[in-house]
């Protein structure tokens, strides 16, 4: 194997492992954070860094070892960068609404209206 192939192999392996470790770290955060609004943050690591690392590993792998520039794999990070904020915002609004209904310790709605 050439030196370039070896470097690409190491790069793909590092990116795959980095994606796994980042996802595991965000799962630990999801499990251990004390309140829901803190728990909303860790999954963003998996939504961004872990997905970027894995998609980049797939692209480099197919580019170097199968001679195909599989750039369409990058559609997944683009799609997630559009959808993840929408999910997060909807879920945060739902959680805020439900906490207010329960009388929890959250800020009141702006303007004094009901949610």
């Amino acid at each position: 194997m050439t030196a370039g192939g070896m470097a690409a192999e190491i790069a793909v392996a590092c990116l795959l492992v980095a994606g796994g470790v980042l996802s595991l770290a965000s799962a630990f955060g999801l499990l251990r954070m004390p309140t829901f609004f803190m728990r909303m943050h860790p999954p963003a690591i998996a939504n961004t860094f872990a997905v970027w690392c894995t998609a980049l590993a797939v692209i480099v792998y197919f580019w170097v070892f199968e001679d195909r520039l599989a750039l369409y794999v990058w559609l997944i990070p683009i799609f997630l960068s559009i959808t993840a904020p929408v999910t997060t915002a909807l879920l945060a609004r739902a959680a805020l609404f439900r906490e207010r209904q329960r009388g929890g310790d959250v800020p009141p709605p702006p303007g004094g209206g009901s949610a």
Partner: protein
């Protein structure tokens, strides 16, 4: 498939499975419904990543479509569940 990438794929897959197990604990424990929806969304993302890594492991691009579909359905289900928690119905 070289041995280094095969080992890295196995390590990454183990990490994803462990992350899904931790998120499943959060899914069971709650305490509120929004925690469960968040954990389900996280499990969807990890399942998509597992499929992508399997695509590298077996050197096939067939896995990409299923990964994209999983991401799509994960978004739709999380958005629908969040809307349900907000309003009590999905489509008004």
């Amino acid at each position: 498939m070289t041995s280094l990438i095969a080992v890295a794929a196995v390590i990454a897959l183990s990490c994803y499975v462990a992350a899904m197990a931790l998120a499943f604990v959060r899914l069971l424990r709650g305490p509120a419904a929004q925690d469960r929806v968040l954990a389900l969304d996280f499990i969807y993302i990890n399942g998509m990543l597992v499929v992508l890594v399997l695509g590298v492991r077996y050197g096939s691009s067939m896995y990409f479509e299923s990964a994209l579909l999983i991401a799509l359905f994960g978004f739709v289900s999380s958005a629908a569940l969040a809307k349900f928690l907000l309003r009590g119905e999905v489509i008004e």
